[in-house]
């Protein structure tokens, strides 16, 4: 089994899911859990609520707002467990349909 990160990409104004999307996401989450593919999932608040922290030089420096300004940003993610990419792709397709957004699928390193 391998773990995959399913990032939910958002590319327009309102980040929050509609009630219908929320309901579909709940159904999908339930299915992931029932099938034993669920590891973790979460939705994120808007990028404007982000704080960038840089402690590489000693004292941490805090900066308000996202470091990367982009039209497309992460609004949520799933971490799923799948035997191989084909299985993960099917989950990603269902996830994309449920949350009504594009999903980027990436394998975690070294957990083969």
């Amino acid at each position: 089994m391998a773990q995959y990160l399913m990032s939910v990409l958002h590319d327009n104004k309102t980040a929050t899911a509609t009630p219908a999307e929320d309901a579909a996401i709940d159904v999908f989450n339930g299915k992931l859990q029932a099938d034993g593919n669920w590891v973790f999932a979460g939705g994120l608040t808007a990028p404007s609520s982000a704080t960038v922290v840089d402690a590489r030089a000693g004292e941490p420096v805090f900066t308000d707002g996202p470091y990367i300004e982009s039209k497309e940003y992460l609004v949520g993610f799933w971490i799923v467990e799948a035997p191989h990419l084909d299985a993960a792709l099917r989950m990603a397709a269902e996830g994309s349909k449920a949350c009504n957004r594009r999903v980027e699928l990436r394998p975690f390193e070294g957990r083969q």
Binding site: H84, L85, L105, Q112
Partner: protein, 407 residues
């Protein structure tokens, strides 16, 4: 003595994919599979001239490749630990495709996986299934050898890291995945049939032959799939016309002007038989089957005038229902020109959103020429020549343009 070399070349064509595919299943790593297969063939080249060709060359090669793989894995102990876990085999094989369960089919589906970029699928398929070397593939696609090597390495790394399975797809995914495999094969064929690049031969028989060979293999693996048969028929009926397709001066010869006596009758017979078998199946055809049927109508006509254009248009109408793309509409309009005249056809062509597609301008140029609108025809030829990438086609278009009256 000559014959050992020939035997090795033949065995390479026939057994390469099987050796790679078997090794991929055994070691669960395409890289190791490819290298050990290559080493096994290198050993054959060394040993067979002296020792003689073994009675079962395929089994000899697989056994040798297996030993090479074990040697290699032993040499890299760390790697061996990984390989224990890296098995990409599907844990439970997803519903098998009828009775078919051939390692080579798994290999084809892995190389043509939709998570890989199209160019990587093509390169991997030619390397892993076709057995072409990296320099051969680089030459075929006018890419630097090092760049092609990197492309293949990257694709293999993605297969491993993302765990693209070495297997036959889920049944629900199967139609789309088969379509994906056929797209790869058709792309290889088309690059051979209408090669691009200013320094390239207009027709690359090596690539068309390779595409046909691979499609025959896929057909042997999925004999019940109508679209696989359709694509094979389409390739055969297109390839049959290749001898008539280039003039002595390297100019492309259009269907209308081809010497039909030079067409390859045995390929035509085989293509027609496939098309007839699909028609007899009574199953609704997919796009490759319809394209094959259109080519069957063309290759059925002893002379251009004998072409059953209404049948061609009817087939295009059927195709448009499956694929209403402007390119299909353009091709339909070319048949309409023969049936209803250039004026009607031009009405269908004008307004198609194909300004960047050279056949659009070449078609308009031809129709305008037939309508006596020389100036407009000339500028359409100019545009087509600017956009065309095939040397033989450019030569044809330039000659046609320069034949126009006026100036």
């Amino acid at each position: 003595m000559t014959d050992v070399g020939e035997v090795i070349a033949r065995v390479h064509r026939e057994e390469w994919a099987r050796v790679v595919a078997t090794m991929a299943r055994r070691v669960g790593d395409l890289d190791v599979a490819e290298e050990s297969a290559a080493e096994a063939f290198a050993t054959a080249v060394e040993r067979w001239p002296a020792d003689g060709v073994p009675p079962n060359p395929g089994a000899w090669l697989t056994t040798t490749a297996h030993r090479k793989a074990i040697d290699r894995l032993r040499r890299e102990v760390k790697r061996e630990e990984k390989h224990q876990e890296a098995l990409m085999l599907l844990p439970e094989s997803p519903e098998p495709l009828g009775a078919i369960d051939d390692d080579r089919l798994r290999l084809v589906f892995t190389c043509c996986h939709p998570a890989l970029a199209m160019e990587s699928r093509v390169a991997l398929t030619l390397r892993m299934v076709g057995g072409l070397t990296v320099p051969e593939i680089a030459r075929a696609f006018l890419v630097q050898e090092a760049a092609m090597g990197r492309r293949i390495t990257r694709a293999k790394a993605k297969i491993k890291d993302a765990r693209i399975p070495y297997g036959v797809p889920y049944r629900q995914d199967l139609p789309a995945r088969v379509t994906g495999v056929l797209a790869v094969l058709y792309l290889i064929f088309n690059e051979g049939y209408l090669a691009s690049g200013p320094e390239t031969e207009p027709v690359r028989a090596d690539l068309t032959a390779e595409a046909i060979r691979l499609t025959r293999l896929v057909r042997a693996l999925m004999p019940a799939d109508g679209e696989v048969a359709g694509l094979l028929a389409l390739m055969l009926l297109t390839e049959a016309r290749r001898p008539a397709r280039l003039s002595a001066t390297g100019e492309l010869v259009t269907l209308a002007d081809q010497d039909r006596g030079a067409w390859d009758r045995s390929l035509i017979a085989e293509g027609h038989a496939l098309v007839r078998a699909r028609l007899a199946s009574g199953r609704p055809p997919g796009q490759y089957q319809i394209l094959a049927a259109i080519n069957a109508v063309h290759t059925d006509a002893p002379d251009l005038r004998d072409t059953d254009w209404s049948q061609v248009v009817a087939l295009y109408d059927q195709l448009i229902r499956l694929d209403p793309s402007p390119i299909v509409r353009l091709n339909r309009a070319i048949a309409i020109a023969e049936l209803d005249g250039p004026s009607v056809a031009l009405g269908e062509v004008d307004g198609l959103p194909l300004a960047g597609y050279h056949p659009f301008h070449a078609t308009r140029a031809e129709l305008l020429r037939r309508l006596g609108r020389s100036e407009e025809s000339r500028s359409a030829y100019d545009r087509a020549i600017e956009l065309a990438a095939n040397t033989g086609e450019t030569a044809y278009l330039v000659r046609r343009r320069d034949q126009l009256a006026g100036r």
